[in-house]
């Protein structure tokens, strides 16, 4: 905790008024990108969206783009965090968001991936997994925005 209080990275990040907004633009564009790709798979599991394709095909095709987006999200996020670590750590919305994010990523690369790639999964299972995925990712976005209001 002491380390977080005297933080040269925070000083560097706060020395320019543009670092935070630019990092935030990258963060938003990249989460739109990555969550949007995952949502395409979810929509396909719900039977809508890109036509004439199996969820597995959409999942395979979007996987590298999802990963690219997530990489930018996970690089820009810590930049935002390090501008004021103490504020974030004690912010209940931030804690909720990180919890939801960890769950969402774990879910995405375990159960979600398995069900999306298996074309034999039963329809109710597919629908359930798609809804859980959408709810988890939307929760991350809500938690992130509520940091500013908590």
């Amino acid at each position: 905790m002491l380390l977080l209080q005297i933080n040269p990275i925070s000083d560097a990040l706060n020395s320019s008024e543009w670092v935070f907004p630019i990092a935030e633009c990258f963060h938003i564009a990249a989460f739109a990108w990555s969550i949007g790709m995952i949502a395409l798979v979810d929509f396909r599991m719900l039977g809508v969206g890109i036509q004439h394709s199996k969820p597995s095909q959409v999942a395979r095709a979007t996987a590298p783009w999802t990963l690219l987006g997530l990489a930018v999200v996970l690089l820009s996020g810590p930049v935002l965090f390090l501008s004021d670590p103490r504020m974030y750590l004690y912010n209940p919305s931030f804690r909720f968001k990180i919890g939801a994010l960890v769950l969402a990523i774990l879910f995405n690369y375990t159960i979600h991936r398995k069900v999306a790639l298996s074309d034999t999964a039963s329809p109710p299972v597919r629908v359930l997994v798609a809804i859980v995925s959408l709810v988890l990712w939307v929760s991350v976005v809500f938690g992130g925005l509520f940091i500013a209001f908590a």
């Binding site: 739109a32 949007g36 929509f43 004439h52 783009w65």
Partner: protein
């Protein structure tokens, strides 16, 4: 004239309610943002498909036709949420250059649609028939990515802008001292 309209809009009961509400305002903003995440990806994947870099094993028609209505639904929700966010603080948005930059970018979205719908989006099957993806489709994809990125970034920057008087306030104090 525009300012008077903004004043009137902001003073309506509905917009006053949103402005003075507790949780409603951030919930509207979160929904706006969540729509960007869920539906924004559809714009991205359509553009990437038109550029021939993603989902190439699926036809352009499958992507464009399959996502058309979902993109429209997302767009309508996003516009409604955005209008409430703007309307509840319209007079604060009026002098904000990023707000006008975002509106300009949204106007370009409209122009993009008018130009490229007949050329590209209304007939995706024709693009699939061509051995190479036609240049007009690639131009539509690139411009769409650029314009939407401008909408997004200017949208976020609206929140960072402050009127000049407030920015100069500390300097004035220093001069007095």
């Amino acid at each position: 004239m525009i300012y008077q309209f903004f004043q009137w809009l902001q003073s309506t009961d509905f917009m006053t309610f949103i402005r003075e509400s507790g949780l409603e305002y951030p919930i509207i903003m979160s929904t706006h943002l969540a729509c960007i995440a869920v539906f924004g990806g559809m714009i991205v994947i359509t553009d990437l498909r038109l550029l021939g870099v993603a989902l190439t094993e699926r036809s352009i028609a499958d992507v464009v036709n399959g996502l058309r209505w979902w993109k429209r639904i997302g767009f309508i929700i996003m516009i409604c949420m955005g209008f409430m966010l703007f309307g509840s603080k319209a007079t604060e948005y009026y002098p904000n250059p990023y707000f006008w930059a975002k509106m300009t970018a949204l106007f370009l979205v409209l122009i993009h649609a008018i130009v490229f719908r007949p050329l590209v989006y209304n007939h995706p099957e024709e693009l699939d028939k061509s051995p190479m993806i036609p240049t007009r489709a690639k131009v539509a994809g690139v411009l769409s990515l650029i314009i939407w990125t401008a909408v997004l970034c200017n949208g976020r920057l609206i929140g960072y802008w402050e009127p000049k008087q407030q920015q100069k306030a500390p300097a004035t104090t220093a001069q007095v001292q």
